[in-house]
């Protein structure tokens, strides 16, 4: 078999006595949408942060298209084609939507030690920004400052920024969080289109969306992957039902 796009090999990360990532192994192929689900505190964001390079693992390896990236800083991983959307929207608030995306395009267009020419007037950066904005359905909001975008629009913009870096692999940390029903639906539609172009690792609480979109699902509980398989297999897995879906039922009853 060819080398998968992303391979995670026995990744370990501790916080004091807590093992937040416990010998996690994971493979994501090209064109695959791989969802990671798990209850709150299961270590999903910790895992994503190690994949992007914002958090150093204590042991284990991460390979992107066969290349060991376990110890590379975040900006180098981005250059190799890894892009991330953040769980808590973290755009540049005083910049416009187009500025945010154009910066991402600029990051992948040589160095930025250019001090004199107006970067907002560089046609190829603006074109790349508008293309990515159109892609996520924000073309008409290009010149609006981020602070005046709705929450849903900010989530879409997150995705546009990630796309503008022309990634091989997208890491999406709860892209549906806080979205309304219609906004969720359009995000699902967008992701189902994108999956044909790039590999996607999706961390999400919206089970309906996950089971509709994912090619494969891994279930993370207390830092360990307790099951990995197609949505059908996961639905039938008894351990998953007990550990995860079961817990939720309990929560719902008591709530």
């Amino acid at each position: 078999m060819a080398e998968p796009l992303l391979r995670v090999d026995n990744l370990v990360r501790r916080f004091g006595g807590i093992v937040a990532t416990d010998h996690v192994c994971l493979e994501v192929g090209r064109g695959e949408l791989h969802a990671i689900i798990g209850p709150n505190g299961a270590g999903k964001t910790t895992l994503i942060s190690q994949l992007t390079g914002h958090l150093a693992p204590h042991a284990g390896y991460i390979y992107l298209a066969g290349r060991d990236i376990s110890r590379l800083p975040a900006y180098r991983r981005s250059a190799l084609g890894l892009a991330r959307s953040f769980q808590i929207t973290s755009l540049l608030p005083d910049f416009t939507a187009a500025d945010n995306v154009a910066l991402a395009a600029q990051a992948h267009d040589g160095h930025s030690f250019r001090f004199f020419a107006n970067a907002r007037k560089e046609p190829q950066l603006r074109a790349a920004a508008h293309a990515a904005l159109e892609r996520v359905g924000l073309g008409h909001r290009a010149d609006v400052p981020v602070v005046r975008l709705s929450h849903g629009e900010q989530r879409q913009l997150e995705l546009a920024v990630a796309l503008a870096t022309r990634p091989q692999l997208l890491l999406l940390d709860e892209p549906m969080a806080g979205l309304g029903v219609t906004e969720s639906a359009s995000m699902v539609k967008l992701l189902s289109e994108l999956r044909r172009e790039v590999g996607i690792v999706l961390v999400e609480h919206d089970m309906e969306a996950v089971f509709a979109l994912a090619d494969r699902i891994s279930v993370l509980v207390y830092g360990r992957i307790i099951a990995s398989g197609t949505p059908e297999e996961i639905r039938k897995n008894d351990e998953v039902k007990r550990a995860y879906l079961g817990d939720q039922h309990v929560v719902v009853k008591h709530g």
Partner: protein, 315 residues
């Protein structure tokens, strides 16, 4: 901020016009003092503008910016003492020494952030202060008198009050123009992005430290220019120029005028130094009035004077 003719632009234009016409006013009224005062104001405005590049646009709260005033000044003073009177040589050394100092302390300080960054930049500036105090050959604690101002041949005569004032003003306006270009350039957008979200900028592929360091060096170099001018203005350089309260003054000018605005630091410098002058004529306890005034601006005028003017537009 859509209309180009807003309150901020008008204030900036009025200020520049007033600064340009000041020598005429001075000679008409025979008031030489005001020209001397404003030469100093223009020079310190230049220092504040350079600090604003890292503090306002880059989000790097440097508390040691006055160090470059001293380094630029000592470059002029020491060379003059050793018999090298050429302004070209003196200013080139002033800029190069400031750049080098910024490169070294930037490389070390930028490993830290927040309060630690403030403290470490302060510590480096104080180190420069004590080194200068120890320069026995160049006056030590007492400072060094500069008997002859930098010599630029026939180009400009620094001993002529009006010519020197216009030289300082030209430097100030050139640096403001340069910073205007920088903040809208690729480099400037990266630096402003780093101010608002460094982690995000790394995630989209920027090697954040390099950009911050280069920004730090540019700001230090430009302040070194202010230092070289300041030494010429006072015909004297002493360690006091680098004392931490001086760095504090520069920060106050930037905050008072408006961080991260192009002309804010110029407005801040003019206001701060004119107030200081007027209040100190009134009473020797002028700081008792100045302190609460600054407090009011910081508490109620978010974004400084330029921020207030900006709200005027929208209001």
């Amino acid at each position: 901020m859509k209309s180009s003719l807003n309150a901020q632009t008008i204030a900036a234009a009025a200020l520049v016009a007033a600064l340009l016409l000041l020598p005429a006013y001075s000679s008409l009224t025979g008031n030489i003092f005001i020209l001397t005062l404003f030469t100093r104001i223009v020079i310190l405005a230049l220092a504040a503008v350079s600090l604003n590049l890292i503090m306002g646009y880059g989000g790097m709260m440097s508390f040691g910016h006055a160090a470059y005033l001293g380094i630029g000044g000592y470059a002029v003073g020491i060379l003059a003492q050793e018999g090298i009177g050429s302004g070209y040589a003196q200013f080139a050394v002033a800029l190069a020494a400031s750049a080098l100092f910024a490169l070294v302390i930037g490389a070390l300080s930028l490993r830290t952030r927040g309060v630690y960054f403030i403290m470490i930049t302060l510590a480096f500036a104080q180190m420069a202060y004590y080194v200068a105090s120890g320069l026995a050959r160049y006056g030590g604690d007492d400072g060094l008198t500069i008997y002859k101002r930098s010599d630029f041949g026939g180009l400009v005569n620094l001993s002529d009050r009006v010519q020197f004032y216009y030289l300082c003003l030209a430097c100030l306006l050139a640096v403001v123009f340069l910073i205007w270009r920088i903040v809208n350039s690729r480099f400037g957008l990266v630096v402003q992005g780093l101010r608002s979200n460094e982690q995000r900028m790394q995630a989209i592929g920027f090697a954040s430290k390099r950009y911050k360091l280069v920004c730090f060096v540019i700001a230090g170099t430009l302040c070194g220019l202010a230092g070289a001018l300041l030494a010429n203005n006072t015909d004297f350089i002493s360690p006091a120029v680098m004392y931490w309260t001086r760095s504090g003054d520069l920060m106050v000018m930037v905050i008072l005028g408006g961080m991260g605005t192009l002309f804010g630091p110029v407005v801040g410098a003019v206001l701060y130094l004119v107030l200081e002058e007027l209040l100190s004529q009134l009473t020797e306890y002028w700081a008792l009035i100045m302190g609460p005034l600054l407090l009011l601006v910081v508490l109620f005028g978010r974004g400084g004077i330029m921020g207030l003017l900006g709200r005027l537009n929208r209001g």
